[in-house]
Symmetry: C2
Subunit: 392 residues, 2 copies
C-alpha cells in the first residue's frame, strides 16, 4: 500500500550491493504510460548532484521513472557526481526505453561518497525485471538507510487513489522536505496544477517536521500523477480538487507522523502548536525554536515538565510579542500564564503529560492570528550514540 497503490505505477526494490549490510538498496518506480510530476527540494546550498538533476528535469513537469540508491548520497562529489547521476539515470532510461530527461534520480546515504556506477549498471536488469504493481513495499524498503521501519501510506479520493512512502530518521529539518518522500496518484492532473498541489500541501507539510535541525543535502519530495484513473483532468476549479487535496494531505501527514515516530533515538515526539502570532511565519519560528531547543528536547527525554525551558525557547525566537500576553500549556496543564510561570502550576499533572509518546505543547502569543504546528523529537542517549558512531 505504498507508491503502487494508485493505478499506472509499478515498482521494485532489490539488493544491488551499495550497502555493506546486504539489505535492499536500489529502488525503481515507473509510470509505464508516463506521468506529470512536481517536487520540492532541500534548500541546502550544497544540494546533491541528483537533486540538481531532478530540479532540472522537472522543468517540463513530466516523468517516466524515479530511481533511488541508498548507501551513497552523491553529495559533495563535485562534477564527478554530476556525471555519475547522468550516467546511471541514462542506463535506467535505456533499460526502460524512456528518454533520459524523464528519469529522476535520488540518492541517500553517506555525503561525499560517489555512486558505484558499475554496481548500479550491473543491477539494472534485475531491477527492471522485478517491477510489479505490488512492488510498492519493496520500493519503500529499498530506500531506507538507518530507518527501523518503512513508512507507507495511502488514501482515496472518489475514483482516485493516492499512495506514498518516505525514508529519513535524522538530518531532517523544515527547510523543505524531509529526506526522501514519494507520492503518487492516478488522478489526471496537469503538471502546472500538480505544482500548485505541491506548493499548497506538500511544502507546508514537510516544513512542519524537525528532528535535529539539520537540513540534508538530499531532501526531496516528489509527487507523480499517472492519470490512469480518469480522462478528465482534475483542476483547481474541478469539484474533485478539494478531495484530492485532502487525500494528498492525508498521505503526507501520515508519512510525517511515521517519520517523527522513527526519528533517531526517539522516545517522545513533541507536537508543538503556536497560535496568536502576528503572522504564520512568526508562529513557525516560535514553534521551531521550541522543537529544536536542546534544553526542551532533553527535558522531553527526561520527562521533566520544565516551564522555564519553554519560556526560554519562546523568548529566544526573536519573534516580537508582549511577554505579559503569553500563555503556554503542556497538554491541558497551564505552565505559562501572563508571561510568567504560575507559582501553583500543576507539576504532577504536567509530569503525566510528559510520559505520553506524543507530548502536546501549546503556546498562545496574544499578538494576532498567525498559527503553526511543528513535530519534533526528543534528544536521547541513543541519538548521541547513533550519530557519534555512524558515518553519515
Amino acid at each position: 500500500m505504498s507508491v503502487t497503490y494508485p493505478n499506472g505505477f509499478r515498482a521494485s526494490g532489490i539488493t544491488a550491493g551499495f550497502k555493506l549490510s546486504g539489505r535492499p538498496d536500489l529502488a525503481l518506480l515507473v509510470a509505464d504510460d508516463g506521468s506529470t510530476a512536481a517536487g520540492v527540494f532541500t534548500t541546502n546550498t550544497f544540494a546533491a548532484a541528483p537533486v540538481r538533476l531532478c530540479r532540472e528535469r522537472l522543468g517540463d513537469g513530466r516523468a517516466r521513472a524515479v530511481v533511488v540508491n541508498s548507501g551513497q548520497a552523491n553529495a559533495g562529489t563535485g562534477s564527478d557526481g554530476d556525471d555519475d547521476a547522468h550516467v546511471t539515470s541514462a542506463a535506467v532510461a535505456r533499460a526502460l526505453g524512456a528518454p533520459d530527461e524523464e528519469v529522476l534520480p535520488c540518492s541517500t546515504g553517506v555525503i561525499g561518497a560517489r555512486i558505484p556506477v558499475r554496481t548500479m549498471t550491473a543491477a539494472i536488469p534485475k531491477l527492471v525485471e522485478g517491477l510489479s504493481a505490488a512492488g510498492g513495499n519493496a520500493f519503500a524498503e529499498a530506500i531506507m538507510t538507518t530507518d527501523t521501519v518503512p513508512k507507507m501510506a495511502h488514501a482515496e479520493s472518489g475514483p482516485y487513489r493516492v499512495g506514498g512512502c518516505a525514508k529519513g530518521v535524522g538530518m531532517i529539518r523544515p527547510d523543505l522536505a524531509t529526506m526522501l518522500t514519494f507520492l503518487t496518484t492516478d488522478a489526471p492532473v496537469a503538471s502546472a496544477h500538480l505544482r500548485k498541489l505541491t506548493a499548497s500541501v506538500l511544502e507546508p507539510a514537510f516544513e512542519s517536521l524537525t528532528v535535529d535541525g539539520c537540513s540534508s543535502t538530499n531532501d526531496t519530495v516528489l509527487l507523480l500523477a499517472s492519470g490512469a484513473a480518469g480522462s478528465d483532468p482534475v483542476r483547481p476549479d474541478s469539484p474533485e480538487w478539494e478531495d484530492l487535496h485532502a487525500a494528498v494531505e492525508e498521505v503526507a501527514q501520515s508519512l510525517l507522523s511515521q517519520l517523527a515516530a522513527d526519528a533517531e533515538g526517539v522516545h517522545h515526539v513533541l507536537e508543538v502548536s503556536v497560535t496568536g502570532a502576528s503572522t504564520d511565519e512568526d508562529a513557525r519560528t516560535v514553534a521551531r525554536a521550541i522543537a529544536e531547543s536542546l534544553l526542551v528536547k532533553t527535558a522531553a527525554f527526561g520527562g521533566d515538565p520544565n516551564p522555564g525551558r519553554f519560556l526560554q525557547a519562546i523568548g529566544s525566537s526573536g519573534v516580537p510579542f508582549v511577554p505579559e500576553d503569553v500563555r503556554g500549556g503542556l497538554g491541558d496543564v497551564v505552565v505559562i500564564d501572563k508571561g510568567a510561570i504560575p507559582p501553583t502550576w500543576d507539576k504532577q499533572a504536567a509530569q503525566e503529560v510528559m510520559k505520553e509518546p506524543r507530548i502536546p505543547v501549546s503556546v498562545e502569543l496574544g499578538s494576532g492570528t498567525g498559527r503553526a504546528r511543528m513535530l519534533g523529537s526528543d534528544l536521547s542517549y541513543e541519538y548521541v550514540r547513533i550519530n557519534a558512531e555512524y558515518t553519515t
Copy 2:
C-alpha cells in the same frame, strides 16, 4: 585574581541558603568610591527581572555594587519578580549606604523560581562583613551553578589592571552575553567611553561562544571602572586606550575559553574559523551553523572526522556563496576542496585532529573578506544526562 585584582574593588561570597547543596550562593562586588559601568544583556524577550532592572539602572552609567544570587533565576516571575529584585537590591543598598539606583542585581538558577527574599535579607550583614580586597575568588565561586570550576582572569595595561570572572555551562548562545560575566578595571574611564569599550570588545567576544544554542533569560556582562589607578581619564584618543582595549579583550577571551572548556558534558571544544564571506555577519552565521549543528557536535564527540556533516552545516546556513569556491579544513587537513570532499582526503590525519581537546575547523567561502570565529562544544552522553535530569 578575579574582579578584585584592580584597585578600588572589594568582594565577598557566602552561603545564604539559596542552594540545597549548601554551596556558596550569594556574591557581592563593591566599588567603595563608586565606578562607571556598562553592560550587555540577553536578547531573550523573556529577560529576567534583574536584567530589566540592571538595564534601567545603567542609564546613568554609574554603579556602586553588583549583587548576585545563584539558585533562582527570578525569570518568568512576573511583577512579583520585579518587586523581589527591587526589594533585595534596596536592602543591599541600605547596608552599603548607597543609593538604590547604584546597586545592580543579577540572578542565575532555576527559571520561574523567585528569590527567597527573607533568606537574602538575613544574609546581607554577613555578606557585607565579608567584603575584602582579596574577595574576588569567593565572589567567583558564589556565582557558580552547575559550573565545575570558577572562571577567573586578569591582565595589565600599563598602570591599569583588568580583572574578571564568569559563570555558565549551558543555555549559552551568541545572542549576547553568556550567563554572568563581570569585568573590572581601575582605569578611569567615563561611562560613555566604557560603553564604547563594551560595544567594541565585549559584545563581539561574547557573541563568539555557543554551547547549546539556547539564549538564557539572564545573560549579563558587566564592566565596572573604579578609576582608582589614575586621575586622567582614559579616552578613545588617549595613548593608553589601545592597551586598555587589549587588556579587556585578553580577560574576555580567557573567560570565554574557560567557559567553553567547562561547557556541560564537554569533551572537545570546536574552534570554528570562517573567512571569505561577503560580510562578517555572514561569516558569523556560517560559523554558528557549524558550531550548533547536532551532527557536527556528535561527530566531534565521536571523534569522527566527517566532512559530509561540515559540508551539510555550511550549506544549510542560508548564507550565499558559490559551492565550487568553498574550501574547508580540520586542522591542516583539507576535507573540502572546490566545494567537494576530495576522494583522497587524509582520514587518518583528520582523525588525529579530532582527538585534540580543541578541534580547529576552518572554512574559506571564497566570496569576500568577511570573517568570524566561534567557540562551540561537542554533544556527549553527559550533556544529555545533565539536561535530562536537572531542573534548570
